[in-house]
Every structure is written in C-alpha cells, then in structure tokens.
Symmetry: C2
Subunit: 194 residues, 2 copies
C-alpha cells in the first residue's frame, strides 16, 4: 500500500477507535464509518474487506494508542515503585482526559464482547490480559505483598472511575479513584524491589 494509503488507513482507524469507544464495535459498520469519514463504502472496503477485519484493526489501533499514552512512557521510569506510580498516574490521566472520545475503549468493548466468542473477543482479551500482567509484574517489582490482588484492585478502581464519569459526568469519580489508589500504593511498602 502507498504511503498515502497507509495514512488514510491510520486516519480511518483513529476515527473507528473513537466511534467504538462510544457506540461499541458491533455498531462499527463499513457504512457508518464511511459516512463519518465522508468516503465511499467501496473506498473503505479497499482498506478493510469485512466487518471483522475492521473490528480487529480497530482493536489493534486502540492498543497502539494505549501503549503510546500509558505503557511506553511508564516503561521509561525505573522499575519498581517509580514505574508503578507512573503506570497508575498515566492510566488515570489517560481515562480522565478522555483520550478515547467515548470513554475507555477497553471497558466498553470488553463488556460488549464478553459473551461473543470469536477473534474479536480474543483480541480484546489478549490486550486486557497483557495490561493486567504488566500491572501485576510492576506491583511485584514495587514490593506489593500480593501483586495479583494489587493489580486487580488498581484496574477495578480506575475502571470504576471511568464508568462513573461516563454515566454520571461526575468529575469527582477520578478523585475517588486517585484517593483509593494512593492508599493502596502507600500500603504497598517502601518501593524496594522484591
């Protein structure tokens, strides 16, 4: 594909990620996206042959956006407590700043696809599993006594804030999550690597 073609493809996928975070991946039809992009349906078909192909490419684009915004900058910090702190801060910032126009892409699509077996569900599951594994590993490096428990709580509290903000528009949702997570981090120990 030409460079221009790749740029167009990226632009389509950026819009697709935002649409899916708001309306779900099932509503993401070629027709809907063509209308949004003011492109012809046949033009979109050239980029994505079928709906599932578009959905999978959208999950992939959302994962890249998440890695660029949260994972990569945190990995620049020292392992252990500095990196865990950075992961939590960047994750909450990412959710609060509504990097995904419709709220967290993963919260929305995981709920949508948890009962729809197939390649799309597997791709969402793999991405969420990779994030939980990273949180668990960095919780362990930061000296949390029960890293898996710790990672579960961090993830649940951040997602709780995301849903509360999306459903009620309450800014304080993120204050509640930050307060809860700060207490967990404070209790997690000195930050020495285990």
């Amino acid at each position: 594909m030409s460079t221009a073609g790749l740029r167009t493809r990226d632009a389509i996928l950026e819009r697709a990620v935002d649409l899916a975070s708001a309306e779900g991946l099932e509503g993401l039809t070629i027709g809907r996206l063509a209308a949004e992009m003011e492109m012809s349906k046949s033009g979109l078909f050239r980029h994505f042959g079928a709906k599932e192909e578009l959905q999978l490419a959208t999950v992939d684009a959302a994962a890249r956006r998440f890695v660029e915004g949260v994972v990569a900058p945190a990995l620049e910090r020292e392992p252990g407590r500095p990196r865990l702190d950075a992961l939590c801060e960047l994750y909450l910032d990412h959710l609060e700043s509504q990097v995904f126009a419709g709220g967290c892409f993963w919260g929305a699509t995981a709920h949508e696809f948890d009962d729809r077996p197939g390649a799309v569900r597997d791709a969402i599951r793999d991405a969420v599993a990779a994030w939980l594994a990273l949180l668990t590993e960095e919780s362990r490096n930061a000296g949390a006594p029960d890293p898996e428990q710790f990672a579960f709580e961090l993830q649940a509290l951040a997602q709780g804030a995301n849903l509360r903000y999306r459903l009620f528009g309450e800014e304080k949702a993120f204050v509640l999550a930050r307060t809860a997570i700060a207490r967990r981090l404070a209790a997690a120990g000195s930050g020495d690597r285990a």
Copy 2:
C-alpha cells in the same frame, strides 16, 4: 391486561433481561425476542409497542430482579454493619451466581448507554444512582469514615470481578473482590452506627 397476559409479559421480560445482559439493549429487537420466545412479532408488539418501550420495561424488570435478590434481603438485617455486610455479600453472590445470564445487567448496559442520551440511559442511570446512594447510606450507618469513598470502592471492586469473570472465565475474580472488600470492611470500624 388479563392475568395470563401479565404472566406472558413477565416471561418475555425475564428473557429480555437475560438477552440484554449478554448482548446489550440495542440488540434487543422485537424480532430477536419473538424468535427467542417462539412468539409472533405481532404478539410481542401487543405487549410492547416500540423498541424503546421494550428497553424501558426490560430495565424495570432487571431492577426488580436486583431488588428481590440483593436489596430486599439486606434490608431485613439491622441497619449499620450487619446490613452493609449483607449488601456486600448478597451483591457478590448475585454477580457470582450469574443471576443475569450474561453477567451483570447494569455493568453491560451502563457501558452500552453511557453515550446514548435518552430515556433508556436515564433509567439505567437512576437505577445505578439508587444503588450507590443505598451503599453510601449504609456505609455511613456502619461507621465508615468516608461513606462515599467506601461505596465507590465496593462498587468498583465488585464490578471489576464481574468483568474479569465474564471476559476471562476466572473463578478467582470473586476471590480477589471478596478479599479486597473484606479488608475495606475490616478497616471501616467497629460497626457502631455513626
């Protein structure tokens, strides 16, 4: 409507709640539900004139199922710590036993409708708000120092277990949530009413 008609309506709504918990409320068309119930579409139209009417009746039926399974039995306990303990236990039991065939109806539909303004979103929001208000009030009665914070954490942890179980099929999701919530409850004080 006749007694038989009301019974049929209840049976349709029970199925609708289960379908919506798995596939969402937007996919809950009269045609889909008629096929599930082996009824004619015109028969279903007699009960629910339009899709939004069916969606609102389904939200209402889900709320009744939640009140019967969680709220009403907890309200039989003494106010304060016994009632808060019962609310947490019954809520986790309710999620873990998959009373809603597709996982928590509220987790699924709140994510689905948070970006769809209208009567259905408002009905979901009112139901979730009532639950959070009850959790906050009983946290206060149980002597939690910051009842709103406490209620936020209980809700987020329970919903985190629901999603983790639905997405990964991990039974331990509820062990993680119970462990986290038991620690919060233990820290909440003696159980004296504030």
